[in-house]
């Protein structure tokens, strides 16, 4: 059994769900210590599912700062004889993880799909290759959201961070809430795209957009419906639109002309819904449902 450090993240008054997932993974790996950093976080931090929680609560830690956070995390890791450090693969975790690994001069595994005492699995080449590894020494790893069920919140012992906080030139001047559901098309892990099969603009707005939002996906479109004026050109996927390579590309009512395929063929997994069994999209799709999208979409939507 090894000593595991999990670094929790706070969202308002709550521990982020991803941090609880990480905690659940850590629980199977050994003795778990939790570290929560921020300002005015004592109440939320206590909810992290770990036996021992170290709280670094300081006004200078209000916003994530890689220099300060990494120095605290490495300090804590050394103090507590930690062999495994786990974080959520969030914008903070993916930034902090490698910095901590560098500071501790240890290995780093980013964006893991699987993590256990058996080893780690992480995606290479946009998920087209899976790489397994079994680290022997100290390791820092980030774990992808939704890879595991979240652990239960419980209060273990709480301790305040007593080490120093390094100076940093970084200064957060603004945090702008763009709101969820506006994932950038080219960066999204999931893209839900609609085509002519939707029949009109209203259906795009009432079916594709909400489905994308609930899946945490970006909404895309075929050229045909951009031309028809149902959606703006910024949504167009294809040769003359945007090139996307998400983990999952869900093509709804899109026949799949080569000009469209040119823009999304790099996707790891393609799923298609179309009423025409001969539509070319099924030639490239990994999974397909032949059927009436107006029947399928409401059911699909209800599952997320």
């Amino acid at each position: 059994m090894s000593n595991v450090l999990i670094i929790g993240e706070i969202d308002g008054t709550e521990i982020k769900n991803i941090s609880q997932q990480v905690a659940a993974v850590a629980a199977g790996m050994g003795e778990v210590t939790g570290l929560v950093m921020g300002s005015g976080i004592s109440e939320a931090g206590m909810k992290l599912a770990a036996g021992k929680i170290i709280m670094a609560d300081d006004s200078s830690l209000e916003n994530y700062d890689p220099v300060k956070y990494a120095s605290i995390a490495s300090h804590v890791a050394k103090e507590n004889d930690i062999q495994t450090i786990l974080l959520g693969a969030t914008s903070m975790g993916k930034d902090l993880g490698p910095r901590v690994a560098a500071e501790l001069n240890c290995g780093y595994l980013g964006d893991c799909l699987e993590a256990s005492s058996e080893g780690f699995v992480r995606p290479n080449f946009a998920g087209k290759v899976l790489a397994k590894s079994k680290p022997s020494g100290t390791v820092v790893a980030t774990i992808r959201n939704n890879a595991y069920p979240a652990g239960e919140a419980w209060s273990g012992s709480v301790e305040n961070y007593s080490g120093s906080i390094t100076d940093s030139t970084l200064n957060t001047t603004d945090v702008e809430n763009v709101g969820s559901g506006t994932v950038e098309l080219t960066e999204a892990a999931i893209v839900v795209s609609g085509g002519r099969g939707l029949e009109n603009a209203e259906n795009y707005d009432s079916m594709i957009r909400p489905l994308a939002e609930s899946m945490g996906a970006a909404a895309g479109a075929s050229r045909a419906i951009v031309d028809a004026g149902w959606v703006s050109h910024s949504h167009q996927v294809g040769q003359t639109g945007k090139t996307v390579a998400p983990e999952l590309y869900l093509a709804i009512g899109i026949s799949g002309a080569i000009q469209h395929l040119g823009g999304m063929s790099g996707s790891k997994c393609i799923a298609a819904i179309n009423k025409d069994p001969d539509a070319p999209i099924f030639k490239v799709a990994d999974y397909g449902i032949v059927g009436d999208l107006f029947e399928i979409l409401p059911i699909l939507k209800s599952k997320f």
């Binding site: 031309d227 040769q239 000009q259 040119g262």
Partner: protein, 662 residues
């Protein structure tokens, strides 16, 4: 009675001398200026094949071969043109107070000459009346909104003709009339005028004579300034018409043997990449400006213009001339005007061209519109790096994966799986599949159909597999000549390594580029469109194909029909009674995909393919046969947009395979 007498105590010829000096002087000065401007252009050695050039000059210029393709305007023009050639010497006679006729009289030619001139005036007169009828009464769509200049000029020429008859008639009248029947129209005029009293008659003759001379002089001054510059400009234009095969673009640099200089050896220090300055054009490109007659036939057939885009091929030619005129003094001083050629053409117009060559084909005076656009594209891509964003994808994809979509180069031969084809081995024919046939699901089916038919007929052929690359056409037509050349050089090397002599391809762009453009890069092959080979196999009964059931119309691909010169093989290969579209064969209308247009965004309300799809629908055909992968995509999309999905689009080979008798 003649007008050759003193006026206000001064002899008539003094007046005429002064006027001639002004008119001829102004004419020569202006023409000289234009010649100097044209000579700013780069060299283009077309001073060869004189015999062929003379023949072409006689048929195209003198014979008005292409002019008369437009029945009303064409024959009206031909009448005026031939009429003026016949009557032009009359100016000498009128200018010398009849000395010329006297001289002809001494060698017994006066009568026949009189007859010819009279007939010439008559023909010109009829031509002008027909042209006026067209401009004022018929008023075709394209003439609406044009200036009154054309009408005014026609009236002026009509004035020249009528005044000539009056002067002619005047000769026959006087103290005693004697009709010269060698001038029958003159006689008709004289008969109308014989009862007018002598003084009035003299005035009429005098006024007519001077009006005649003023109009002719005025015309001389006007010619270099307006579209009438074509009276002179068409002479070099027709004489030095392009002898390269239609649609072949010129390499960046050629050596003494007219072979392209290798990409590694290009002399970039001294190389202008494309055209942005007036003097970047060749002299022959510049002379087009002054040869244009503004007949608008190019405009009528242009897919970009007809779909509402910025481009009007006629305007491009006007732009060359007007740019030269407006900035002439600066240009001749060797200075650069602030406005560039690209500014004048406008990038939107430059990128709208599909390189279908309908304009060039329609032009009666051999104007070369397309190279002007592809040359400015070269500038925009290679020098300025300003081009539609979508093309960056295209270029990167071609460079990295040697296909326009950027799909894995290693999957190029996947379509052939299970067909047991020779891959990368020498064979009698190389089946050059092309990118669409290799990667596009729809067109893979065409590749399979073609391969199956060739196998059925026992043809020995191989494909290149992963060794094959895009032929480079999209890069070349989009102005990235350097990328094209790199691809051409690699392809030629690969093809030669297989000992390739004969090539079959189902893509007219491969057909054109490999067949007509690779020669300058060291690749000399006999290249056949698959319809040619399959038709021959059918004619020789190596393939037994029964008549099809559907009503079929055939859409001629530009690079196979008009540019490639093959319109019959596809028709015979399909067989049966085809329903022809309104525009077919050499006159076929582009699908909108050529000139790398298929890789660029097209505004939804300005789609070329919809215009063509409508024409196909109008035939009532159930099936649109195509012979080009891009036409396949564009026509299918067009039919879909029109809600005519029940009409299928099929390649020639697919129709043949369906009807193959086992």
């Amino acid at each position: 009675m003649t007008p050759f007498h003193d006026y206000f105590g001064i002899s008539w010829y003094i007046y005429l001398l002064i006027w001639s000096f002004i008119a001829i002087g102004a004419h020569v000065y202006q023409v000289g200026f234009i010649i100097k401007l044209i000579r700013l252009g780069k060299d283009d050695d077309r001073f060869n094949s004189w015999k062929q050039r003379m023949k072409e000059f006689l048929t195209d210029w003198l014979g008005q071969r292409k002019v008369v393709e437009d029945k009303v305007a064409g024959y009206a023009h031909a009448l005026i043109f031939w009429g003026f050639l016949m009557l032009v010497s009359d100016v000498i006679d009128l200018g010398t107070g009849g000395l010329f006729a006297e001289f002809l009289g001494m060698i017994y030619l006066e009568n026949i000459w009189n007859f010819i001139v009279d007939l010439g005036y008559l023909m010109a007169g009829i031509g002008i009346l027909a042209a006026l009828y067209r401009r004022i009464i018929i008023r075709p769509e394209k003439l609406k909104g044009t200036s009154m200049e054309g009408v005014l000029i026609l009236f002026a020429i009509l004035g020249i003709v009528i005044t000539a008859f009056i002067v002619e008639a005047g000769y026959m009248l006087g103290d005693e009339s004697h009709y010269n029947y060698w001038e029958p129209i003159g006689v008709l005029f004289a008969m109308q005028m014989q009862n007018i009293d002598v003084n009035t008659l003299q005035t009429i003759v005098d006024v007519s004579y001077w009006l005649h001379m003023i109009l002719i002089g005025g015309f001389l001054i006007e010619i270099p300034q307006t579209k009438h510059s074509h009276l002179i400009g068409t002479i070099p234009n027709v004489m030095f018409q392009d002898h390269e095969k239609m649609g072949t673009m010129l390499p960046l640099q050629v050596d003494d043997d007219d072979v392209a200089v290798k990409t590694d050896d290009l002399d970039f220090e001294n190389l202008t990449l494309g055209v942005n300055k007036f003097e970047d054009f060749t002299w022959r490109q510049l002379s087009d400006g002054w040869a244009c007659t503004a007949c608008a036939r190019c405009q009528d057939v242009c897919p970009a213009y007809n779909s509402g885009k910025e481009l009007n091929p006629m305007q491009i030619i006007m732009d060359v001339k007007n740019y030269g005129k407006e900035h002439g003094n600066l240009l001749l001083a060797g200075e650069a005007p602030e406005e560039t050629i690209v500014d004048r053409f406008s990038p939107e117009a430059i990128w709208a061209c599909t390189t279908c060559y309908a304009c060039v084909n329609a032009c009666p005076v051999h104007i070369e519109h397309v190279p002007k656009l592809t040359d400015t594209r070269r500038h925009l891509v290679m020098e300025a790096s300003e081009f539609p964003e979508e093309l960056q994808n295209l270029f990167n994809n071609l460079e990295r994966n040697s296909n326009p979509w950027g799909l894995g180069a290693h999957t190029r031969a996947d379509w052939a799986e299970g067909l047991d084809l020779k891959i990368g081995e020498p064979a009698e024919y190389l089946f050059y599949v092309g990118c669409a046939g290799s990667f596009d699901e729809r067109n893979k089916n065409v590749s399979r159909a073609t391969a199956k038919l060739l196998k059925e007929a026992g043809v020995d052929f191989a494909i290149m597999g992963e060794m094959e690359m895009c032929n480079g056409d999209p890069a070349r037509r989009a102005g990235n000549e350097f990328l094209f050349q790199m691809m051409a050089e690699m392809n030629v090397e690969n093809m030669n390594s297989l000992g390739t002599l004969k090539v079959i391809t189902a893509c007219p762009h491969c057909f054109h580029t490999i067949g007509k453009e690779y020669e300058k890069y060291g690749g000399k092959y006999e290249v056949y469109h698959h319809s040619q080979v399959l038709n021959e196999l059918k004619q020789k009964e190596k393939l037994k194909i029964k008549d099809y059931g559907d009503k079929v119309t055939f859409h001629d691909p530009c690079y196979l029909g008009r540019i490639g010169g093959e319109t019959e093989a596809p028709r015979e290969a399909i067989g049966g009674d085809l329903i022809e579209m309104e525009r077919s064969r050499e006159k076929s209308f582009c699908c909108g995909g050529g000139g790398a247009r298929i890789w660029m965004e097209e505004e939804a309300d300005k789609r070329v393919n919809e215009i063509r799809a409508k024409e196909a629908v109008n035939t009532g055909a159930d099936c649109v046969a195509v012979g080009c992968p891009f036409c396949m995509t564009m026509m299918s999309d067009g039919l879909k947009t029109l809600g005519e999905e029940q009409r299928t689009v099929k390649d020639i080979s697919e129709i043949m395979l369906e009807n193959l008798e086992a």
